[in-house]
Amino acid sequence: MRNSVWRSGVAIAALATALTACGGEAPASESASVAGGAGDTIKVGILHSLSGTMAISEVTVRDAELLAIEEINASGGVLGKKLTPVVEDGASDWPTFAEKATKLIRQDKVATTFGGWTSASRKAMLPVFERSKALLWYPVQYEGLESSPYIFYTGATTNQQIIPGLDYLKEQGKKKIFLVGSDYVFPRTANKIIKAYAAANGMEILGEEYTPLGHTEYSTLTNKVVQAKPDAVFNTLNGDSNVAFFKQLNSAGVTAQEMPVLSVSVAEEEVKGIGVDNIAGHPVAWNYYQTTETPANEKFVAAFKAKYGADKVTSDPMEAGYNAVYLWAAAAKKAGTVEVEAVRKAAGGIAVERPEGLVTIDGENQHMYKTARIGVIQPDGLIKEVWNSGEPIKPDPYLKGYPWASGLSNG
């Protein structure tokens, strides 16, 4: 037994030396990096999952953010300085997001960070950013009920995506709705809102079903949906489950005409994996499509395809990530510094023409005014807009402006 102590000793000693060596080099890199943005360059963090289950989606957002940084640098940078991205991998693992956020803030001393996709990753990073008083730009539509002073939300909150989606279904005369979602925070919160909306608008909820993330067996659920005979399905499934769900729904003979499935997590990128055959004709709700007709979008799509390949598509979260970099740059220019509190103060009211149309930062809750758009999936895999809200909707993460939602946000 003495032996194993001996061995453990040697091993741990070797390891500790390695660790201390690493600790030794850390301060060096710290002194080389320049806090805030003194010097010739400004460091900005990019923190998405580059490995693991979420990599599929998040890598595309990283690409869009890097494109924005490149474009900004090409036109002179921010405050006369070039941006240097520091890219970290959140590895689809929430504690890793917290760890890497800490690293970006404390070791790399980035001026701001763009990152996250899942709510879980945002919730894990939130305390890190709040306590270090550092900035995070979060680019994905989410479930609302949050307004951190150190996070800017460039994706839609619920009243810019879920509620317009419901308005659309109501306009179409769909009265009986079936809710299908993955079992996590966004679908559960979204469905709570949907149920309150339905109660106030004379709609009927025929069923509410959740499946574990990564679930692929949808025959029972399809049977339940078909038997309930709803007018429409509101789908908050996430990721690979969408593929299985649409394949199995389609082969059960459900058509988009008789029972449209409105999805809020299926964008251009996902359509490819699901197979156009299985999903064409079904509606989706977002704020941006590759086909959105604005001058800024023409430029964005062209630049993205030029940089990453002609077969690449652009989607809503990518555009929101792309916007985030521009919006931060605009705020920093207005503030005349990249210092966090000054940027936060300057950000309110900034309005920029973006690929999705005019985007304005709401200084109060740090969300964006965004135009809601309902699209229908075309046989070529792109999405065609069939409805929009006409003007940018004021973000309302706690749904305070909706009387029927008063019971939901008493927190």
């Binding site: 067996e217 082969s251 059960a252 003979g253 490819k272």
Partner: protein
């Protein structure tokens, strides 16, 4: 009531999927005691085979891919057996960890070769539509599972190779002294077991996503079928798959998909209380 009755064929069709993914495992696990965590990635390889063949064969890819995927996945299994696993016989827990490493590498390889997003395999048009609650593609999987079981049964009981395989399964040493080349039998078993995973992969393109993570979605379920059915037991695997499929279908019908998984697990633990070796046991007096 109609919904309730519909769950019966649905449960059986879930069972058919479970059987297809687990069938190969019962043999590699049963005969060789190898817990092949890379089995899921062999399933994935089968699915990608169908994807690649699509360029050549269009919508018939799913049919053409069945034999091709059997060969592709089988060869992958054979390579794995020859290069690594054969050094590990008698150390099942080590093979579990080894093959898990292999599975990680294969997943990343798929990501690098085919990209991280899911790809699409188009189903033949004549598989669209269905009878009652069962779409044709489910019936196709059902028929495929049935054909596979019959094929394996015939192989095991009607061919010399199959009989030798059974002999090795029952008593490796005695088989060896009787002049059976156990190494060769092992290779063959591994080839067939892995090949069956490839066939399952092709079938799964009809109903699920085709991506690098494909294998991870099915591997735990496949092992549960094997554990419940008993090692190396064709009968056991069939009954266990059907049973678990029905249980899953009705549990989900009455509760929800999350709870159904938990119920299935609890049922298996409870079941092992009565039959710790699974449904059917290979009688052995060997001392472990």
């Amino acid at each position: 009531m109609e919904a309730f009755l519909n769950q019966l064929p649905i449960g059986l069709s879930i069972g058919a999927v479970l059987l297809l993914i687990a069938l190969g495992l019962t043999f590699t696990f049963g005969q060789m005691g190898v817990i092949n965590m890379a089995h899921g990635e062999f399933i994935m390889a089968g699915a990608y085979t169908a994807y690649l063949l699509q360029d050549l064969t269009g919508r018939m890819a799913v049919i053409v891919a069945l034999p091709v995927a059997f060969l592709v996945a089988g060869l992958m299994g054979l390579i794995l057996e020859r290069t690594a696993i054969r050094h590990f016989y008698g150390r099942p827990l080590d093979t579990l960890l080894l093959t898990w490493g292999v599975s990680l590498v294969l997943q990343q390889l798929a990501r690098d070769l085919f990209g991280a997003p899911n790809v699409q395999v188009q189903a033949p048009t004549w598989l669209q539509g269905g009878i009652g609650p069962l779409p044709y593609n489910r019936l196709f999987i059902f028929a495929l599972a049935l054909a596979t079981v019959v094929g394996i049964w015939a192989y095991m009981n009607r061919t010399g190779q199959g009989r030798r395989m059974q002999a090795v399964m029952q008593n490796r040493q005695l088989a060896a002294v009787s002049g059976i080349n156990t190494g060769q039998v092992d290779q063959r078993t591994f080839f067939i077991g892995s090949g069956l995973a490839g066939v399952a992969g092709v079938a799964l393109t009809l109903i699920g996503p085709v991506g690098p993570a494909l294998g991870t979605y099915y591997i735990v379920d496949a092992f549960l079928v094997v554990v419940a059915g008993g090692l190396g037991q064709l009968r056991g695997a069939v009954i266990a798959a059907a049973g678990l499929g029905l249980l899953n279908s009705y549990a989900e019908f009455w509760s929800d998909a999350s709870l159904a998984k938990v119920i299935v697990f609890a049922a298996i633990v409870a079941f092992l209380q009565f039959r710790p070796q699974g449904l059917f046991v290979l009688r052995s007096r060997a001392l472990t």
